[in-house]
């Protein structure tokens, strides 16, 4: 039977098999495994059957713990079930894994092996998560490539059913899960051949059923638990042979033969590396290369890691083995060695003792760590390991791939060593996320994989910023199978899709001599040379590159594609690379366009076609001059005045050179300085706002809504104006109390993302030309220099004295320094304005616990952080614990602060004789309800410390350490709706019930934004989201009302775009309330599918439609005999559809299923009506008197 060749990534490969041989799929989104669940959900929505002709049911749970529980139940009730996860998600499944394995229940967990968060979170790949499950009793099966992922997904399931031991099938997160490769697809018949009906029948017969009832899951006592636990031994002893049998059966059906341990290399090898995962492929490639050069080397790929078969392991090693290096992609701090290394030593030791080893003497064994968090693992590193094994005294417990200058574990690597095949085309593409480069390259690799005989591989490197993010695509193709599981460092084709990258990145670093360089350039072949930095020119000349340019922006724009230059650049790539004849290539590109975009409508297809057709006429080869002639070079990454740590460490990371940083450069406990985003100067905005000082009414709305804190206002002494740069603008301050002062609204030109939310919100319009506002967008480049100086001058102007401002007024709040600035969030983000506001109000005394998600990524993903400090060095202190525990984490901070405050107060009392009664009384009885009160307390603490410095007792030293807690602190838990409504709800509920003074800010985007828009319980009825492709059938959970039910929780529902005043009041009241507070903040999001420039307008529409009523529930009012519930918005006045149908998440349902859209709209309208009625009733309830008047 012929099997089709498909070009897919590892996640899809696993899902294509798992979906077809299961019935119940319980999942929870987590990077990098989310796409497996999403594929399954898509196929289920499309009514695609499994091999038994029924459509699997996919359910998204509230956490991985929930997914594992649901899976356990489904298995117990006799279904074939599966789940997909990684990292922390896998940890949450561990309790159920013990149960499932203990009950000898066949299932498979497909795991994209990912780093466990330790000193830091990492979304990338290593085996630390899988290694944490070694004791669960699950079989552990590793696949190393996209083809193996597909094959092992089947082998794992068959082995589980045969052996009754559940399996964890893992492959490397990102490197394999996201690598696109050409694979042979297993057919339904292949699946049927490996999953015989009798095994399924046996599984069903073991199910719980009232028709043949049993009891499973008993509690056992010391008398029998132990014996019962040992009953499973025969299954584990038989398992390796069972797996091998399945592999043999697989080989007989499909033709690819696998073994529990696959050895590749010289039969007489003396040096052998033992490892598992994708790195084994790079080792395989290196072994082949070295063997061709006469070296006796080999690599043993471990497939079945648990149950570990010593017998099979020993049988796979060459008799000639003298030196073994065991490589672990994990770190087990404090252990005698990493897990695989320890297992190998045990196996050889046991084998030799029993006389079953192929060799008679103990080979020399060293162990090492590599590849943590997707650290590159290259042939050069493999070679370094082989070289180390040859040394008389090789380093044990080494690391490879980093420079460890602290404990000197690292091996030296010759970075020039390469095993790249000259016949393999190696292409690198630098693009922007928004220009479609990755999508086009994925199409290209599919075309090459499916329309030619070539082997093909695509791997994509993304940015950790969500605005202006850069992407780097690595494409390989050629006549030989590709084992290169590492990035291209010697490219024979480099394309730079954005001209401005040249001054920021050394894009030609990886170009090999004679390579082709394709540049998207606004300048033609005759003008481009002098417009490029010297570094680029030098590389082109020295490496003798062939150089092509195309004005792709112009071609794309003419075709109606805007900034999406993907198909234009793709066409040029095919034309230059010659992988297919031009006509064929163009036909294939068009076919791919139809496949990708056809369902979005003919006009989309046609404009892409137009772009393809126009491309080649605009492609020009540049005659390369002999001399470097440019008058400029690449820009410095950070300004010279940046702090040393920023210059020496963070700047390297910004440049993409973080791999070169040694161990000593990194903090040993994950602690970093704040206030670092200010140094990045990303210059990503094409246009920035320009202030018209004559028109401005100084309302401060633009400052409030700016998601990136790049537009700021100050009032100042007019005398300062004299020192200002010539183009610095100012106006007379429009404040009664500051009328002698000057006012300036200043933009940070190099930090702005160009989202234009500020312009959209600006209420001041010209009386002679309505489109002209008090701020207007204008091209950044001509403004950059002057505005940079203006910004620097603006920063030097002293901040306003907080005591003189009225913090309840938006107009005054604009004058407060934001301590959250220039985040990498999406341009126009709806979350960050709330965070920024919080930092303006309380940042200098705030502790923040941040749930994992968008806000933890733009808040804390290296290289820099937007959290900043004021002129006194005070600012928010921030940490991320986990996704699920954030409320508890913040509560812990609160407990610590309260405890220390209490202790400080006790110490102050104890030390009263030395401190003086006046100071002591003032400290203990301070009113800190105002900025002035807080300032006075700070001064008292300052005085206290001065006195303590002169007292040498232990108590004085103790008080010195906790004295700062005498100043009121504001403790916040930040997180998204995925956290607050789903995975963290149990903890959040507990914290709200605790009565402690924790402020919770829920940035409600109504989906899991950070992992790509999966449904949460905050997703509204009728909206389309992943796992709600047919529109969410049930209404949004009313988190606010659930919190209100406690009666002693401050609850506010806010939407800044509707009422900035109400938002401001809610923040002030939440902080002031001495108990738990929760603010549920409407946060527009890119996942909603509209232009975020209208984000604030949409917020307004959400409120007008009654979908998002604004309210504040303040228990303090109840103490005064008033109704604590205040409705802050009016009765619905806008039809719901006028709000929702501005967003693609709703409109797409009208296109995909118009009937469902109508039905859900009607139900959603009822939801709005019902909810409004309930709120109104609550707000109208009499409290010790007459009913409250409802407006």
């Amino acid at each position: 039977m012929t099997r089709s060749k498909v070009t897919i990534d590892g996640n899809e490969a696993a899902a294509r098999v798992a979906y077809r041989i299961n019935e119940i799929i319980a999942i929870y989104p987590i990077t990098p495994s989310s796409p497996m669940g999403e594929w399954a959900d898509q196929w289920s929505a499309e009514i695609q059957p499994n091999i038994w002709g029924t459509v699997p049911h996919v359910i998204e749970m509230q956490s991985e713990g929930g997914a594992a529980g649901a899976l356990h139940g489904a298995l117990q009730a006799g279904s074939l079930g599966v789940t997909f996860t990684a990292s922390q998600g896998l940890l949450l499944m561990i309790p159920n894994m013990f149960k499932i394995a203990g009950e000898l229940t066949a299932t498979v967990l497909h795991v994209t092996a990912r780093t466990l968060a330790a000193h830091a979170l990492s979304i990338f790949g290593d085996h630390s998560d899988v290694m944490a499950t070694r004791s669960t009793g699950f079989g552990l099966l590793a696949s190393n490539s996209v083809q193996e992922v597909m094959d092992f997904a089947l082998i794992a399931q068959a082995a589980a059913l045969q052996s009754r031991i559940p399996f964890l099938h893992f492959f490397d997160g990102f490197r394999t899960s996201h690598e696109v490769g050409k694979v042979e697809e297993l057919t339904d018949d292949d699946l049927r051949a490996l999953i015989p009906a009798d095994l399924v029948e046996a599984h069903r017969k073991r199910a719980l059923s009232p028709d043949h009832p049993v009891l499973r899951g008993t509690a056992q006592n010391p008398d029998v638990f132990f014996q019962a636990r040992e009953t499973v031994n025969p299954f584990y002893l038989a398992c390796p042979a069972t797996v091998q049998n399945v592999m043999d059966k697989f080989a007989s059906v499909v033709g690819r033969q696998y073994h529990l341990f696959d050895y590749e290399g010289a039969p007489d090898a003396e040096r052998v590396i033992i490892m598992m995962g994708s790195g084994a492929e790079a080792a395989h490639e290196t072994v082949e290369y070295l063997r061709e050069r006469g070296e006796k080397v080999g690599v043993l790929k471990v497939r079945l890691y648990r149950p570990f078969s010593i017998e099979h392991f020993l049988a796979a090693l060459p008799k000639t083995t003298k030196n073994l290096a065991v490589l672990d992609r994990t770190k087990e701090a404090g252990a005698a060695g990493e897990p695989l290394y320890v297992d190998v030593i045990t196996a050889i030791s046991e084998g030799l003792s029993a006389g079953k080893a192929p060799f008679t003497s103990f080979p020399r064994i060293i162990g090492g760590r590599y590849g943590l968090s997707s650290k590159e693992f290259t042939p050069a590193m493999v070679k370094a390991v082989f070289d180390e094994m040859r040394k008389p005294a090789p380093r044990n417990h080494f690391t490879v791939g980093i420079v460890d200058d602290v404990t000197h574990t690292s091996l030296e690597v010759d970075s020039t060593f390469s095993t790249e095949d000259p016949k393999t085309v190696r292409a690198i593409f630098y693009g922007l996320g928004s220009d479609g480069t990755v999508g086009a390259n994925k199409n290209s690799i599919k075309i090459i994989g499916e329309d030619t005989d070539n082997y093909a591989q695509g791997y994509f490197v993304y940015d950790s910023k969500k605005s202006g993010s850069i992407t780097i695509s690595h494409l390989r193709f050629g006549p030989k199978p590709i084992h290169s599981t590492y990035l291209i460092t010697q490219a024979n084709f480099v394309a730079c899709h954005q001209f401005t990258f040249l001054e920021r990145y050394d894009v030609l670093k990886a170009a090999e001599p004679g390579a082709v360089f394709l540049l998207n350039s606004p300048y033609g072949p005759d003008e481009v040379w002098d417009m490029m930095p010297r570094t680029t020119q030098r590389q082109i000349i020295e490496k003798k590159l062939r150089f092509f340019v195309i004005d792709a922006i112009e071609v794309a724009r003419t075709a109606g594609m805007g900034g999406r230059i993907n198909t234009v650049m793709q066409t040029c790539f095919f034309a230059i690379s010659g992988v297919l004849p031009r006509e064929e290539a163009i036909a294939a590109i068009k076919h791919a366009i139809e496949k990708t975009y056809g369902r979005r409508g003919e006009s989309v297809v046609q404009k892409n076609f137009a772009a393809v057709d126009a491309s080649l006429d605009h492609l020009h080869e540049v005659k390369v001059p002999a001399e470097i002639s440019s008058k400029f070079d690449m820009r410095p990454t950070v300004p010279s005045q940046a702090p040393a740590f920023v210059r020496d460490v963070l700047a390297r990371i910004i440049e993409g050179e973080g791999d070169s940083l040694p161990v000593s450069a990194m903090p040993n406990d994950g602690t970093f300085p704040t206030a670092t985003a200010q140094w990045e100067k990303r210059n990503i905005a094409l246009e920035i706002p320009v202030w018209d000082e004559d028109l401005c009414i100084q309302c401060g709305k633009c400052v409030l809504v700016c998601p990136h804190a790049v537009i700021r206002a100050k009032i100042y002494d007019p005398a300062l104006r004299g020192k200002a740069p010539a183009t610095f603008k100012s106006a007379a301050a429009r404040w009664k109390e500051f009328k002698e002062m000057k006012y300036t609204l200043q933009v940070a030109p190099e930090d702005c993302t160009g989202c234009a939310l500020c312009v959209e919100i600006c209420p001041a319009k010209s009386k002679s030309e309505a489109k002209h506002k008090a701020i207007n967008m204008a091209d950044q480049v001509p403004l950059r220099e002057a505005e940079r100086h203006n910004w620097d001058f603006f920063l030097e102007i002293p901040e306003a004295d907080r005591r003189t401002l009225s913090l309840g007024q938006v107009k005054d709040v604009q004058l407060l320094q934001p301590l959250f600035e220039f985040s990498g969030a999406c341009a126009g983000c709806g979350e960050t304005p709330y965070i920024k506001l919080m930092t303006q109000l309380f940042g200098d005394r705030a502790l923040i616990g941040n749930a994992t998600g968008c806000s933890s990524i733009y808040g804390g993903n290296l290289p820099t952080t937007p959290y900043a400090v004021n002129h006194e060095g005070r600012g928010p202190t921030w940490s991320n614990s986990l996704f699920e525990d954030n409320a508890e984490f913040a509560l812990g901070m609160r407990l610590a602060v309260d405890q220390q405050t209490q202790y400080a107060r006790e110490l102050v009392k104890r030390l009263a004789p030395s401190l003086g009664d006046e100071l002591v009384q003032a400290l203990l009885n301070a009113d800190q309800s105002t900025e002035a009160g807080i300032r006075e307390q700070r001064e008292r603490v300052h005085a206290l410390k001065a006195k303590l410095a002169g007292i040498s007792t232990l108590e004085a030293r103790d008080l010195m350490n906790v004295a700062d807690t005498l100043v009121k602190k504001s403790v916040w838990a930040f997180g998204g709706d995925g956290w607050a409504y789903d995975i963290g709800y149990g903890g959040l509920d507990h914290v709200l019930a605790s009565g402690r003074n924790v402020n919770v800010l829920v940035l409600d985007t109504e989906v899991y934004s950070n992992t790509g828009g999966q449904m949460s319980k905050a997703t509204p009825r009728g909206a389309v989201a992943k796992f709600a492709a047919g529109g969410k059938p049930r209404p949004k959970k009313d988190l606010g009302m659930m919190a209100i039910s406690y009666g002693n929780v401050y609850v506010a529902q806010v939407a800044m775009g509707s009422s900035d005043m109400q938002t401001l009041k809610a923040f002030l009241e939440a902080d002031a309330y001495n108990g738990p507070s929760i603010i549920i903040a409407y946060s527009h999001c890119i996942a909603h599918g509209y232009d975020l420039v209208h984000g604030m307008d949409q917020q307004k529409a959400a409120v007008l439609s009654g979908y998002w009523p604004l309210y504040r529930y303040n228990p303090d009012l109840a103490k005064l005999g008033k109704n604590p519930m205040q409705l802050d918005s009016r009765a619905p006045s806008l039809p719901l559809e006028k709000y929702i149908y501005n967003e693609t998440r709703y409109t797409m349902l009208t296109h995909s299923d118009p009937e469902a859209a109508k039905r859900l709209l009607k139900l959603a309208e009822e939801d709005v009506r019902d909810r409004w009625r309930d709120y109104q009733n609550l707000a109208a309830m009499p409290m010790n008197g007459a009913p409250k008047e409802v407006k």
Binding site: V438, G560, R599, S1009, G1013
Partner: protein
Amino acid sequence: MIDLTTKYLGLTLKNPLVVSASPLSEDLGNIRRMEDTGASAVVLPSLFEEQIQVESNTLDHFLSQGTESFAESLTYIPNMTGYHLGPDGYLEHVRRAKQAVKVPIIGSLNGTSAGGWVGYAKKIEEAGADALELNIYFIPTNAEMSGGQVEQMYVDLVSKVKASVRIPVALKIGPYFSSLPNTAKRLDQAGANALVLFNRFYQPDFDLETLEVVPNLILSTPHELLLRLNWVAVLYGKIQADLAITGGVHTGLDVLKSMMAGARVAMMTSALLRNGIGHLATVRTELLKWMEEHEYESIHQMQGSMSQRAVADPSAFQRANYVKVLSSYAMAGSRQ
């Protein structure tokens, strides 16, 4: 027995009451009610080529927005197998409407490209429409474009569509031509089977608080009928194409006037939006009652009876108000 039948676009209609293109006929139930309450034909809402393009491009834009940029969220919105984009939904509606009622169903089309007009016209014909109304909604804003160029565009369009479909084609136009009779004649010669007078254009309003332009469409009022009566009366007999009146038809009397001016049918929407679909029955009753009282036997009998060529003073249509005012003044003067 009074004969209400009329011939329009080669179709024999049971009466001259036709429902013009509007959102009302988006719903099959409404179309059935229209038939039940007396409509003799229904014009479906327009298929807007621009709308199709905008929806398609918008969907593409927002499905692509933010994708393939960040490792954790390579997409934001789930992939669907298909969307009811393009004309498919509309064509399906034509098919269903045809199945739902016996009265003729007239498709309506507003194109933006030459290919779009012709392509979609063919598709509407294939879907089973009995006739097609071209809803030309062109508002020239380019000062370089002459009236002649605009008219030529209309003529070319009619020729192209006529050459590609076999069903009758009506043309719905606005009143803003320098010489409407000449334009009408050219469109007639280009093959239009009917002219529908007149399209009503959106007239954007200003919001003085926000200083924004806001879209605005108000329902027609009876006085708008007069402009139509005037031009139908003028054109009647001068061109081969049938004439239809749309805009300002609210009562049975309005229908009678339309017929007398020379229209084959009188189309209604605003009156139905205001009074409900059942208003059709009221209008029909009024029509019958008046004809009975005035002893008319058939609609055919009155069609064109008050057209320019049929009235005693044809110049009334050229300077009607002026002359009447003068003569009434004179008569008043003579009585004094």
